[in-house]
Symmetry: C2
Subunit: 281 residues, 2 copies
């Protein structure tokens, strides 16, 4: 993260920003977050991210502590301090309360933390990934701070020398530890349905729209691991990964082992979307 | 919590103890905890709690930052400062690292937090509880900080005016949001098996031993919700609840609606165990 962060109304150095040990984020993971990209100071997908942030907050009964305008002011200041091509990180926890107990007072003041991280958009030479058991809770549509299973999956990928793990439950692909999954087979494009067991990725939604503009309706259907390994192409999507082609899953080469032709069409369209839709706050 | 807490080597007022916003406990719930009871300064179940703490740490690859002797010194100082009949809370997170990313450097220094809370041992007049869907992840044997589902279940119980929620998955009882569950039917005692989907409660283990001394081998078998509602007795166990009789589950009265005869036998034995086994650190 870059040097200046925002915490509860104050901008200051990252190393100085501290919260109470009784913050419920620290004790229970009782909070939610959002990550959104800025290209040369211009927001891409702002509305989608803020709507999802609102849904995550509502799902765990934390009132949104700021108006959209207030969030924009925080983000603009971070960009001014830290640089203009950044991933912005927003986190709200339920707040701090002594003594520690599971139940909460709904009138507690939420903790608001925001930071940014300079980002170098997507690698396009193709990524290798592993599969890993999806051990997460039932409500992964909430972008919550209960991320221990994602941490353990990501770390296992790192140990195996790859940058992402695809989470699998009962033989079916759910999503990456921090990305959504697409598959191309026989000129059809598939992605896992958003039934609550995965995060509804904002980038995922942008890609679905973009594929439609190419004349392909993305089929939201369960994807078996067997189908994934036999795919012509696999892509991952996230704000940081944009659309990243996957060329190997575990020991299995995907398609030709190089970024595929459908990705070659989609990728420049995604870049064109950024140019067209990214906007000043 | 009482006024003095411990954080990374320093004892000080609870209100002053702060951690970095980049602590992985705050960002990912990347840590584990333990709660253990002290009666008039004497530890009850220390070894069982410390063994479980060790298992939780190992399960998520955090090295135990202290020896048993060092943990004892921390706890003794908290008791000296805060009082002698306390629940001691120990928490270790993976530590702080900038920038935020899921993967971690295994050599990061863990964050160590300890606090205490004065405690008034068990209510014995009988407790009402609700059932609530178990929405948690697959590895609930780890006493991790990913407690959002437990928070939401506990809060729903509070909203319905009761102090605990029993978590149910696929028609079967798992455990309480912060307790284990026992059931008595036709003079047999049952509890949910520890297959990884529940926490292996230290108090649960003490109660199993105690029932054996009464001549009852506790049957570790899946308990259906239907069986629970039709039970003669239901008990909850935890360090704070000790053995608490449940007299109502949702709208269903349990047994006679009063603490049952088996509980009347078990409860004084539990108190006798404390007198016999609690020991100075």
């Amino acid at each position: 993260m870059n040097d200046t962060v925002y915490l509860n109304g104050v901008f200051g150095p990252a190393a100085d920003a501290k919260v109470s040990v009784f913050d419920r984020g620290f004790l229970f993971g009782d909070g939610v977050y959002e990550v959104m990209p800025f290209y040369q100071g211009r927001a891409f997908g702002w509305q989608g991210h803020m709507e999802r942030f609102e849904r995550s907050l509502a799902a765990i009964n934390i009132p949104n502590p700021h108006t959209d305008k207030q969030w924009r002011e925080i983000v603009k200041q971070l960009l001014a301090e830290n640089g203009d091509t950044q991933l912005i990180y927003l986190q709200v926890t339920r707040g701090a309360a002594i003594p520690r107990k599971h139940v909460y007072d709904p009138t507690i003041t939420p903790t608001v933390f925001a930071a940014s991280m300079s980002f170098t958009p997507v690698q396009t030479s193709g990524m290798s990934v592993i599969t890993f058991p999806d051990e997460r809770w039932d409500h992964c549509f909430i972008k919550s701070l209960n991320l221990l299973p994602n941490v353990l999956a990501s770390q296992e990928a790192k140990m195996q020398g790859v940058p992402e793990a695809i989470l699998v439950r009962d033989g079916f692909v759910k999503e990456g530890a921090s990305s959504n999954v697409f598959m191309v087979k026989n000129n059809e494009i598939f992605t896992t349905p958003t039934d609550g067991s995965i995060l509804r990725g904002v980038t995922r939604g942008i890609i679905c729209d973009l594929c439609a503009s190419l004349g392909f309706k993305v089929k939201e259907e369960p994807i078996s691991v067997d189908a994934l390994l036999d795919a012509d192409e696999v892509w991952l999507s996230s704000v940081g990964k944009e659309i990243t082609p996957v060329i190997q899953v575990d020991d299995q080469r995907i398609g030709s082992g190089k970024p595929g032709p459908m990705w070659e069409r989609a990728f420049p369209l995604y870049q064109a979307c950024i140019q067209r839709d990214a906007h000043a706050l």
